[in-house]
């Protein structure tokens, strides 16, 4: 088969992956593709569906990429397949096919008990389901989930997050019966209890009962008891959507699903099935990794390849608010003669089991509850020798699970079927860090659980992940910070003599200046420190392209009185400065010459302004929306909090600039989720988001803690900021810092919420020192003749202004006159401007 009309039914995770894989293999577009989708939105990440309740937006879950030669018909489900005419029918038309791919996925199984049709009973499968659950949960107090498997626990957690008190009813005698054994289930239950979710094991739901308003009100259980439930989620399993194939007379698997062979082809040579609807050699797989494997097989076959289904990796890892659960390989020990090695620690609440072959040499599978850090390595070792002694692997923080011991054939990234051999080959081809490996092998780009292994493999290959700051220091910024802090070093010369070499440079000097400033070493222009500063910090203003500077006074939270606005206007007028409202809710005054800076500050400081630190790697602005004071939707005083935060953290020097925002309600007009730390008001407090970034690589901040009181919020931000300042790399924003952190957000939580490193007292004290020692850098210069001396045009001609700085007027304001273009040709467009060029110049930072 080679080209023609291809129809794909279903645009779920696997349907989408299939189209991507086919397009990658068929760049000429010999197949014209039509995708029929039942849902009204293109493919999204169903695996991360629950993140919707953490505030992750629909667009972040999107998986769809448009391709040439592929048309996507949203909201147009296939209703029949006519194999004789080779036509698929929908409500609005017919589509002829030369090849047909079924990718219809599964539906949620709803057990046949009375009352499942009542208002308030939901399944948990699509974004629409979740939106409906969220809407219905409003104002309700108690919910229940039928089913205590992977999906049921995710749903229970979702109900919790929606503020419902939640019960889980599971027919089996333990939670997650498919993945976990009895002892693991018991450990898991203790965690779930602790979250306040009540579990009812070994009982069935016999009926769902309505209340007086006709909506669901209670569950009746097989043990005769009843549970209050104003909202019910049924998560009792899934069934393949095989109706179209059934109606078209195609054979099905023994337990349903479209029967296909190892090439993923049905009995009809023109029809294929992929993902959850396919029964490959009779077995359906309810996970995305085997689904992706089927997509790759069919894409390969359609361009004449000979791929076959490689067998399924049924490993699963679940994360429910800090509880790790993982299961892989022969987790239940069904292999003849196998051995179990188990490890239970009630104190740390860790349970682990390894299933080994009868000679104890080969790893067959395992279960981990409470600590799944060994999961990536163990999963990759299934079928091969143990990478270390069992106890070393299982004991928490045993650190024994090193990917370096894996054989080449071991699958490192199962989401994307990447083996250690593939990773090693990529490293040999020159991939020298995790981002390079990600883009070259796709490993680590889906669930991310294999990223730690990618690092280990880089280490094992001897790729030095150099952390040297520059030629003068062999250590990273983080290590340098510790050296300075612990040794109490206060000068660059001592630091470079004792711990480095040479005279420093434009990389290490500002880093050390920032470290010294973070550790509270006086004014940034004191003594030798002055020579370390970048020109912006050296002149406490921002250098512009023509050698002039801009001045940005702080306007906390963007709130300003008319009197102060008038002062800014007058200063700008008197010094003839170009004036612009910035993206940070304040006002930037451009075109000041060095010698004018102190005069401008004088006027501003006298009117009650202070430095806005627009020049520093420091706190910039805390944006606010107008909030409860005026806005009809606001639920808290967002301006008040923004002002308080900006005043608290002003002047705080950091590895890179810091930005924040506070929104008064979930409409988020302050764009808090694009900030390093963003705060969104809730009915009862504040939600804190961390690690957001606009700029070059935008990233939405992650929800870190919910419904905090103002005090609790400030304590968390204090710790977050100091921990960032101490441990981040040079010029690493909080977004990159969190992404690079081993253990990510959970690690951060354990350090600054649970105090796992015992650091919190120290972090709190460091912030207290900062807050109490803050003083305005501009005023300090104005008060000191020695420092003022620096603000001069020429050392031997202080009365002569820099003759190279000249202005012309544009739209009523002064702007720099540019140099003549290098070729000497006069610009022709009447302006002295050069045309805007697209593309970024190479700028070394």
């Amino acid at each position: 088969m080679s080209g023609g009309e291809l129809v794909v039914i279903g645009n779920g995770m696997v349907g989408q992956r299939f189209v991507d894989a086919l397009r990658a293999r068929d760049p000429q577009g010999t197949w014209r593709v039509t995708v029929l989708a039942e849902e009204g939105r293109p493919a999204y990440d169903r695996v991360r569906l629950s993140a919707y309740f953490d505030g992750v937006s629909e667009s972040e879950l999107n998986l769809h990429t448009p391709h040439d030669g592929v048309r996507l018909r949203l909201g147009e489900p296939a209703t029949a397949v006519d194999r004789n005419r080779q036509v698929v029918t929908t409500a609005v038309g017919e589509y002829r096919y030369d090849a047909l791919v079924l990718a219809t996925g599964s539906y949620a199984f709803v057990p046949p008990v009375a009352g499942t049709e009542l208002p308030g009973v939901f399944v948990y499968r699509t974004l629409d389901d979740l939106a409906a659950i969220r809407a219905y949960a409003r104002g309700r107090r108690v919910g229940a989930v039928i089913g205590g498997g992977l999906l049921g626990l995710e749903a229970a957690n979702a109900l919790r997050l929606l503020g419902l008190s939640t019960d889980v009813v599971e027919f089996a005698p333990r939670l997650m019966p498919v993945q976990v054994d009895q002892a693991g289930g018991a450990m898991l239950r203790r965690y779930v209890d602790e979250l306040g979710v009540r579990t009812h094991l070994g009982v069935a739901t016999t009926a769902i009962r309505p209340g007086p308003d006709g909506g669901v009100a209670a569950l009746e259980l097989s043990d005769g008891t009843a549970l209050d439930a104003e909202l019910v989620v049924v998560a009792a399993g899934i069934r393949p959507r095989d109706q179209l194939a059934r109606d078209a007379g195609l054979p099905l698997g023994p337990r349903g699903g479209v029967l296909v062979d190892a090439t993923c082809r049905t009995a009809d040579e023109r029809i294929w099935a992929v993902g959850e609807c396919a029964a490959v050699d009779g077995t359906c797989h309810g996970l995305v990794a085997p689904g992706y494997a089927t997509a790759e097989v069919v894409a390969d076959r359609l361009v004449g390849g000979a791929a076959t289904f490689p067998g399924a990796d049924t490993a699963t890892k679940l994360k429910l608010l800090g509880v790790d659960v993982a299961s892989f390989g022969d987790a239940h020990g069904t292999t003849e003669g196998c051995l179990d090695v188990t490890f239970t620690d009630p104190a740390t609440r860790v349970y682990a089991k390894l299933v080994l072959s009868d000679d104890a040499h080969t790893l067959l599978g395992g279960v981990l509850v409470g600590d799944a850090s060994a999961y990536p390595t163990l999963r990759a070792s299934v079928g091969g020798p143990l990478p270390a002694a069992p106890l070393a692997l299982l004991a928490p923080d045993g650190g024994g699970a090193d990917a370096g011991a894996l054989p080449a054939a071991a699958q490192v990234c199962s989401c994307n079927a990447v083996t250690r051999g593939d990773v090693d080959a990529a490293i040999a081809d020159g991939c020298a860090d995790v981002p390079a490996l990600k883009s070259c092998t796709r490993a680590g780009t889906s669930c991310g659980s294999c990223v730690p292994m990618l690092k280990q493999l880089l280490d094992a290959a001897g790729v030095a992940q150099s952390s040297a700051l520059c030629e003068h220091f062999d250590v990273s910024r983080r290590e340098l910070f510790e050296i300075v802090r612990v040794r109490g070093i206060r000068t660059f010369s001592r630091l470079v003599t004792e711990h480095g070499r040479g005279r420093g440079c434009d990389i290490c000097k500002p880093v050390v200046a920032s470290i010294l400033a973070s550790l509270g070493s006086g004014h940034v222009l004191d003594g030798e420190q002055a020579s370390l500063q970048d020109t912006n910090d050296h002149f406490l203003a921002n250098l512009q392209r023509d050698g002039s500077y801009s001045v940005v006074p702080r306007i906390p939270g963007g709130e300003i009185t008319p009197e102060k606005l008038i002062v800014i206007g007058e200063v700008a007028r008197d010094f003839q400065l170009y004036t612009k409202i910035t993206g940070g809710q304040r006002i930037d005054l451009f075109g000041a010459r060095v010698e004018q800076l102190p005069q401008i500050w004088r006027r501003l400081v006298d009117a009650g302004f202070e430095s806005g630190h627009a020049y520093g790697k420091a706190l910039r602005t805390v944006k606010s929306c107008v909030g409860e004071t005026w806005c009809r939707y606001g639920v808290q005083d967002s301006v008040g909090l923004a002002v308080a935060l900006e005043l608290r953290y002003r002047g705080l020097r950091a590895p890179h600039k810091l930005k924040s925002a506070v929104s008064g309600c979930a409409r988020e007009c302050a764009e808090a989720r694009s900030k390093d730390f963003g705060i969104i008001a809730t009915e009862t407090g504040w939600n804190l988001y961390v690690g957001g970034n606009g700029g070059f690589r935008p990233r939405h901040a992650d929800l870190f803690a919910t419904d905090l009181s103002t005090d609790a919020l400030i304590r968390l931000i204090d710790r977050f900021l100091i921990y960032y300042i101490r441990t981040a790399d040079r010029l690493q924003r909080t977004a990159g810092w969190i992404e690079a952190m081993d253990g990510g957000l959970d690690h951060l939580r354990s350090v600054i919420v649970d105090d796992s490193l015992g650091l919190c007292e120290d972090l709190d004290a460091a912030m207290a020192r900062h807050v109490s020692s803050y003083s305005d850098e501009w005023r300090d210069v104005l008060d000191d003749p020695d420092r003022l001396r620096r603000y001069t045009s020429f050392v031997n001609a202080p009365d002569v202004p820099d003759p190279s700085i000249t202005f012309t007027r544009e739209r009523g304001q002064p702007v720099p006159v540019r140099d003549q273009s290098p070729t000497g040709s006069e610009p022709t467009n009447g302006h002295r401007r050069q045309p805007v060029t697209l593309g970024l110049p190479e700028v070394r930072r």
């Binding site: 020109t535 045009s793 020429f794 001609a797 002569v800």
Partner: protein, 115 residues
């Protein structure tokens, strides 16, 4: 701006006015000079950043690369060897250098035409 060639030394300022490892701008016969004082030497180069055309080199960070004393342009961080004026990041780019010395606690500069 026309450059005049001077062969004489011009007194610029007291040595004390120069902070170690930091520059100042000076005007010598209408030419903008960037003057630097390192631990043991004085250097003078044109203040004009040849890449951007702005008169800013005196405000760059002073340091070393390998054995060479350097200054980095504060605009886009190209690094120049203070002894030769050669840009160490962009082959073929250089900035004019001048002579600088200290006499009786006074800093003196002599403009030079690069040959």
């Amino acid at each position: 701006m026309t450059q005049t060639l001077t062969l004489t030394w011009t007194t610029v300022c007291l040595l004390d006015r120069l902070e170690p490892d930091r520059g100042v701008a000076a005007l010598v016969d209408g030419v903008q000079i960037a003057l630097f004082r390192t631990a043991d030497e004085l250097f003078a180069i044109d203040n004009r950043d040849p890449v951007s055309g702005a008169y800013v080199l005196s405000r760059g960070i002073v340091g070393s690369r390998g054995g060479a004393p350097t200054v980095a342009s504060p605009l886009h961080k190209q690094v120049y060897d203070l002894r030769s004026g050669h840009c160490l990041d962009l082959p073929g780019v250089a900035v004019a250098r001048h002579d600088a010395r200290c006499r009786d606690g006074l800093v003196e500069v002599r403009l030079r035409q690069e040959g």
